[in-house]
C-alpha cells in the first residue's frame, strides 16, 4: 500500500568530517505503525532522526514526505508539512503553563505575525488544537500548571503533547521513555500505542521490553548502517542482530528479551 507510506528515507548518509554517522540507511514509515529503531549507543539513531526531521542535512540520499521530495527543506517547513518530533532531552517552555506550551506549538499553523490586535491566547484554532493534544497526551488535569513544575514523566508527556499540537502525520520520538519511572512508563506506553492511529510513528528507544511490546516493525542499526528491518518476531531470531547485541560486552543491559 504505497499510499500509506508517509515518510521514506532512501540511502541517506550523513558524514561529520571523517566520521560516517549514518551510512546509506533506508527506512519507510507507514501509517498506523510504530516503527522502532534500535541499536547500541553511537549506532546513528539520533542522527537518522535529525536527518529525517530536517535538523541536519543529509550528505547524500533522499527523504520523501507524502511522496514529495523534502531532502532540501529546512526543519520548520518539514514540521509544517507534518513531521513532529520529540527530543531525548526535554525541550519545553519551562515558564509557561502546559496549555500555553501546546497553544504556542499549535500557533505554528496560524502564525499571522502582522495581526497585532488579536491576543495570541484568543486564537481559536490554536486553542482547539492545543486542547485536543493535551487530552490525547493525558495532561488535561495539569493544563494550567507551569511546565517547569511538572514531574519528569509529565514533562515527557508534555513533550509529546507539544508534537501533537502541531497536528503531525509523522511522529519522530527520540527516547520518550528516557529517565522515567516504572509506573509512568506504563502510562507512557499506553499513550505511545495510541499515537499510531492515523499516523506513522518512529520510535528510538533503549528499553527493549517496551520496544518489543509496542513496535509493529523494528529496524536495527549498527555503526550507522541498517543491518535488519522486520517484524519483532523475525528480529528476535535474526542471527546478525543477536551477534551485534550479545557480542557487545559494553552494554549488557540492552540484551534482547527472551522469546515470550
Amino acid at each position: 500500500m504505497p499510499d500509506d507510506t508517509l515518510l521514506t528515507a532512501s540511502d541517506v548518509s550523513r558524514r561529520f568530517g571523517g566520521l560516517t554517522a549514518v551510512d546509506r540507511a533506508s527506512i519507510a514509515l507507514v501509517r498506523g505503525e510504530v516503527h522502532a529503531v534500535i541499536g547500541t549507543n553511537g549506532a546513528g539513531k539520533s542522527t537518522l532522526v535529525n536527518v529525517l526531521s530536517g535538523e541536519i542535512a543529509a550528505s547524500s540520499g533522499r527523504v520523501h514526505l507524502h511522496g514529495r521530495d523534502v531532502t532540501h527543506w529546512p526543519q520548520p517547513r518539514r514540521s509544517r508539512a507534518g513531521i513532529g518530533r520529540s527530543y531525548q532531552r526535554t525541550t519545553i517552555f519551562r515558564n509557561a503553563t502546559v496549555f500555553e506550551n501546546c497553544r504556542l506549538a499549535a500557533q505554528a499553523h496560524f502564525q499571522h505575525p502582522l495581526d497585532l490586535w488579536t491576543r495570541a491566547q484568543r486564537c481559536p484554532q490554536s486553542r482547539e488544537q492545543a486542547e485536543q493534544a493535551i487530552e490525547q497526551a493525558g495532561l488535561t488535569a495539569q493544563a494550567q500548571r507551569v511546565a517547569g513544575t511538572l514531574s519528569h514523566g509529565q514533562k515527557r508527556q508534555l513533550e509529546i503533547a507539544m508534537c501533537l499540537a502541531t497536528a503531525p502525520t509523522v511522529l519522530l520520538l527520540d527516547e520518550p521513555l528516557a529517565g522515567i519511572g516504572p509506573d509512568e512508563t506504563e502510562r507512557m506506553l499506553a499513550l505511545l500505542a495510541g499515537l499510531k492511529r492515523g499516523r506513522a510513528v518512529l520510535l528510538v528507544e533503549h528499553d527493549m521490553d517496551a520496544v518489543f511490546r509496542i513496535a509493529d516493525r523494528i529496524t536495527v542499526m549498527v555503526n550507522g548502517t541498517v543491518i535488519a528491518s522486520a517484524e519483532p518476531g523475525a528480529i528476535r531470531g535474526n542471527a546478525a542482530v543477536q551477534a551485534a547485541y550479545l557480542g557487545d560486552s559494553c552494554e549488557p543491559m540492552t540484551a534482547l528479551p527472551a522469546n515470550a
Partner: protein, 339 residues
C-alpha cells in the same frame, strides 16, 4: 463566616491594573507646569533614554537577543536627521522622520541579517563589532564632520500651508512630542507582546529548538524583531538630535550601547515598565553624582560612584527596580505560624 466578596466587573478590574501607568502619564504630562526649566530638560532626556531602552527591551527581554551594539541605530538616525535637514529652512517633520526611521531600519536589517547568524556570546561580540565599525565610519571620515560632529541648523516642524501644527524648536512642543512618542512606542510594544508575533518571539527566547521543531522559521522572526528595534531606537536618535541640535560620533560609541543595556538591567528585563523606570534611575543617579552641590570637587570623578552605585543596585535588586514592590510585599507578609 466568610465575608461576601465585592464583585468587580472584569472590565473595570482590567482598567484598575493600569492605574500606575495612568498616574505616571499624568505626572509626566503636568510636569512642565510644575518643574523648572532645568528639570523639564532632564525629564526630556530621560524620556528619550526610555524610548531607547524600550527598543532594546524588544530584543533582550522579548526575544532573548543581547545586543551590545544598539547605539549604532540610535546614532545612525541622529546623524540622518542632521544630514537630511536643509541648512537654511526648518525641515518638514513629515519629510524628515519617515526617511530617518527607514534608514535606521535598513541599517538594522542589514547588520541584523549578518549578526543573527551567530548566537550567545558571539552575537554580543558581533553586534559590538558592527557598532564600532559604524562609530569609526562617522569618526574617521569627512562624511559628517568627523570627530567634531555636526550642527542641526533649524529644528523640524510640521505645517499645513501657513499653519504650523508642531514646531519642535519650541521646548514645550518637543517635550510633548517626546512624551507622545514614548506612549506610542510603549503601546506598540505592549500590543506586540500580547499578539502572536510577540508570543513567538518569547518562545524563541525560551527554547528556539522547540520553536523550529514546531514549524516556526525563527530567523525571519529574529530579523523582524532586530529591524523593528533598530527603527524604534531611531525614534530616540531622532529626538536626541532635535533636542541637542548637535551630533558627534560619541553617541554611537560602545559606552552608549553599554549605558542603554545598563538602563534595561537597572529597570528590570522582561517588562515594559522596567526600561522606563530604569531610565529615570539611571539619569537621576548620573545627575546626583555629577552635582557639585552634593559632592563638591569630587563630582569630577562621577563615573566612579556611578559605577559603584550600579553594582550595588544590580547586587541588591537582581530583577531591577520594577521588581521592588513584589519584594516589599514579601517582606511585609506576616510570618505564618502553626496552628
Amino acid at each position: 463566616m466568610k465575608l461576601p466578596r465585592i464583585a468587580i466587573p472584569p472590565a473595570i478590574g482590567r482598567l484598575l491594573k493600569f492605574w500606575p501607568l495612568a498616574a505616571a502619564l499624568v505626572v509626566l504630562a503636568l510636569f512642565p507646569h510644575i518643574g523648572g526649566g532645568f528639570y523639564v530638560d532632564l525629564v526630556l532626556t530621560t524620556m528619550i533614554l526610555a524610548i531607547f531602552a524600550l527598543s532594546l527591551e524588544l530584543l533582550v527581554g522579548g526575544t532573548g537577543l543581547v545586543s551590545f551594539g544598539h547605539a549604532a541605530f540610535f546614532g545612525i538616525a541622529a546623524y540622518a536627521t542632521v544630514l537630511l535637514s536643509a541648512k537654511t529652512d526648518a525641515p518638514s517633520l513629515a519629510w524628515l522622520l519617515p526617511p530617518v526611521l527607514a534608514i535606521a531600519a535598513i541599517a538594522a536589517c542589514v547588520i541584523g541579517a549578518l549578526c543573527l547568524r551567530t548566537r550567545g556570546i558571539y552575537f554580543i561580540m558581533v553586534t559590538l563589532a558592527f557598532a564600532q565599525m559604524t562609530y569609526f565610519v562617522f569618526h574617521d571620515t569627512s562624511l559628517a564632520g568627523g570627530s567634531d560632529g555636526l550642527y542641526l541648523y533649524a529644528k523640524p516642524r510640521l505645517a499645513i500651508g501657513d499653519v504650523t501644527l508642531l514646531d519642535l524648536g519650541r521646548p514645550m512642543t518637543l517635550y510633548y512630542a517626546t512624551l507622545g512618542c514614548l506612549v506610542v512606542v510603549y503601546a506598540l510594544l505592549a500590543l506586540i507582546g500580547r499578539a502572536r508575533f510577540g508570543q513567538a518571539l518569547a518562545g524563541i527566547k525560551s527554547n528556539e529548538q522547540r520553536m523550529r521543531a514546531s514549524g516556526f522559521s525563527t530567523y525571519p522572526y529574529k530579523l523582524a524583531a532586530f529591524t523593528l528595534a533598530g527603527a524604534l531606537a531611531g525614534v530616540a536618535g531622532f529626538l536626541h538630535a532635535v533636542k541637542d541640535g548637535f551630533v558627534n560620533p560619541e553617541i554611537l560609541a560602545w559606552h552608549q550601547s553599554g549605558a542603554v543595556l545598563l538602563t534595561l538591567i537597572l529597570g528590570g528585563i522582561g517588562t515594559l515598565r522596567g526600561p522606563v523606570l530604569g531610565a529615570f534611575v539611571f539619569v537621576l543617579l548620573k545627575e546626583v553624582f555629577q552635582s557639585e552641590a552634593v559632592f563638591g570637587a569630587f563630582a569630577r570623578h562621577w563615573q566612579l560612584p556611578l559605577g559603584l552605585a550600579i553594582i550595588a543596585c544590580v547586587a541588591l535588586m537582581p530583577n531591577g527596580v520594577v521588581a521592588l514592590p513584589a519584594r516589599f510585599r514579601r517582606l511585609r507578609m506576616p510570618i505564618p505560624h502553626a496552628g
